[in-house]
Subunit: 319 residues, 3 copies
């Protein structure tokens, strides 16, 4: 490019940068003074998340396979790296606690408290890991037994997005329960991006959970799922509408997603909505069903027979 | 591996490479002589795209958060890098303009023209950025107010795929309007890969747009969307069938995707098709609906009550 | 962080690592002694996969575009790198062959056999590549002719996830047919993660196949698809329920996914299930249809007219 064109672009860049700068305090900042606060660094969070997933699911890791029986130092090493990455981010995340309309305290005092609190949270989190691993083992088994195409446990661990998603969810859910803001959502979104499975860290999910294929699955924040439940791709466990407060903002923290009891199976692309919707134990929900009501245990919910029109050369038919 | 086996593989590689070479002019090249033209480098385009998203949405960037109020030099720096990456790619993209059956001029003259044109396009693009940022601010607000699970603006910026997708779309749409071929589609596909949200750069989308969860959303090229519209995951705004020209190729550039007016809400996995389909303002379209007709303003479109069959131990029921 | 807090975390890490170590032989390991076997390294497999995709689809590669007509050395180079990456992984994968309940032979003898077998498999794979490329050419053409939004072949190659997914599938399917375990599934899952399109490597797919948009598409292991078939996003070709063996494990290797004959078009979010379901040639299946029965050639399958309820200010209507 000649110098003139380059210089014009340089000027346009300078103008754009100048015009853009004042557009960054528009009531979409979390600090009342409109300054962008230092939110957690997503790259660090995701790096820690990958290490924690490796510890929960070492069968995904070539390195772990090479170590054979001697996994304890391998775990210690990975957990040490994860703590170095995650601790400062938890500290940065704590000020983003939801306080409704309340203003936040600032300054050095707050920072010291957050530092202490983040260390305490991380310790509790570490203590939960062996129990999380026990859940992951059951989830792997559920995947292997839930899909005729699975020919080895290695295949399940290395290539099942549902196994990855539930493992990551079980970790994120522990951080959510310990009151860490933002970070569990960064984690769930990272796995959502890779697997198409969007499980809010708040969802409570029982043992032996299996999502097959998984793309398009959405499990909302206040969903409760029993044991040995199986979902296929495209299943939504979501909210209907939701109440607004006096200022027109949605009211937070109310139960607005379904309850799914033990041993339910939900087929592809079914949408189930509402905080009062309960799918009774051992029920089967067919594909492409849209359901906003409870059904008792042992129900079979399907699209009504005859709801399709099939036009052929021989004439029309309903199936 | 022993030397014999290795040598056999070497020979197989040489054979395969030789047999493959003549298979690359098969009428799927854009140049009439069957030579592969130098298309834009996707890696460069994506790197530029990430920088531009950071400028539109600095709340996603840890670095920007650290800079606090002094964002103007930060923006200039990112825009400079983006221009270095994107300018040569725009130049490479221009020859891929769709010309129907017309042949393309080649050679040095064309190249000089493309170079000049790409600089002009990029300047106009830079001038549009402050307006794009204003749209992005409204989109962030729409997400925060549209989801009870959103507890801070930081959470929305760092973990909402719908916010990422619409931000990237608003940038790609500017390049599309300025007549840049191929590159806007590389950008939309990059975000599609990460978010599962596929918005064609041609789609015209009003202020305050929010896609929740988003996986499986498809918004076609000639879609028009009003202000304050909200979509959930799996919603398709697509084409029915389309006319073919005399050579059997589809006719390009006709309106074939729906129009969605202001303040419409469309629930999960609804499919709406057709260029003449208009969803009137303030309408609500329920989950899993398949709709190929217009509905007037203030409509509520749902699957018909009673279209589900529920078999329980107590007997059958329709809900 | 002060030293005390750091030391406490160090101790928690050591405890967690110790408690976790014995939790790794829980009947979810493929070796009867509960030791994790060395499964293939997914990073290496994916790197090889990317190289093979580049050879099949050089139009995606900036480097290939620069080489113009002289592609044979380019291919040889990429294939050589792919073989160096993939050969050791095929060798590692072979012991994961599904043997039902049978125990596996171990030791040096087995390893030598696997090494020889993996070289033989890779040679056969290389010989198939020219035929695979011919299929890919037809797939590119099908995409270009199947979407009015496609304005150049470059656009199709650089930004169509369906083209990427079918190219990768045609490669993975060859390895599947040659009896390689696990690796084809790692490949299909890699592309699933990027495109949202989940094609099991076992699926048999005819020439000129096009998936538009693609997010949420699932094509099961025993699916058979004819020539010139077109699918839109969210289409499932899946299994109904499946029989269990005496130990409660699903019976493997039976036909449980649909057959789709030539020139069928299936619109967005349709779910078609069952190993005995045949969609006759030239049929059209509408969006959001749930179908578990065969339909004859030339059928048009849609949701029944009148199955939607539209409530407007003027009253209720069925459409």
């Amino acid at each position: 490019m000649n110098d003139d064109a380059m210089q014009e672009i340089e000027q346009s860049i300078a103008h754009a940068a100048e015009d853009l700068a004042p557009l960054y305090a528009h009531g979409v900042e979390d600090r009342p003074d409109g300054v962008m606060a230092s939110a957690p660094n997503t790259d660090q969070v995701i790096a820690a998340q990958e290490l924690l997933i490796t510890v929960m699911l070492p069968g995904r890791s070539f390195e772990a396979g090479r170590r054979g029986h001697v996994l304890s130092p391998f775990f210690a090493e990975k957990l040490r790296s994860a703590s170095e990455l995650l601790l400062p981010e938890i500290e940065l995340a704590l000020p983003f606690q939801w306080l409704g309309a309340a203003a936040r305290s600032e300054g050095a005092e707050r920072q010291t408290a957050d530092r202490r609190r983040s260390a305490g949270i991380f310790e509790q989190f570490l203590q939960r890991l062996p129990d999380v691993r026990k859940l992951v083992v059951d989830d792997i088994r559920a995947a292997y037994n839930g899909d005729p195409a699975a020919l080895s446990y290695a295949e399940v661990k290395l290539s099942y997005p549902g196994v990855l998603a539930i493992t990551s969810h079980r970790l994120a859910h522990e951080l959510y329960r310990l009151g860490v803001p933002v970070i569990p959502r960064i984690m769930s979104e990272h796995v959502h991006g890779h697997s198409g499975i969007d499980i809010h860290p708040g969802a409570r999910i029982g043992r032996g959970f299996f999502i097959d294929h998984g793309t398009g699955v959405v499990i909302g924040e206040t969903t409760e799922i029993g044991e040995r439940v199986k979902l296929y791709q495209g299943v939504t466990l979501g909210a209907k509408s939701f109440p607004l407060d006096a200022e027109g903002h949605p009211v937070k923290h109310i139960k607005r997603h379904p309850t799914v009891e033990d041993e339910v199976v939900i087929y592809a692309n079914a949408t189930i909505l509402g905080g009062e919707t309960v799918i009774g134990a051992r029920s089967i929900v067919g594909g492409n069903v849209f359901l906003v009501k409870s059904v008792p245990p042992d129900s079979l919910v399907t699209r009504r027979p005859g709801d399709l029109s099939v036009r052929t050369r021989e004439g029309d038919e309903r199936v």
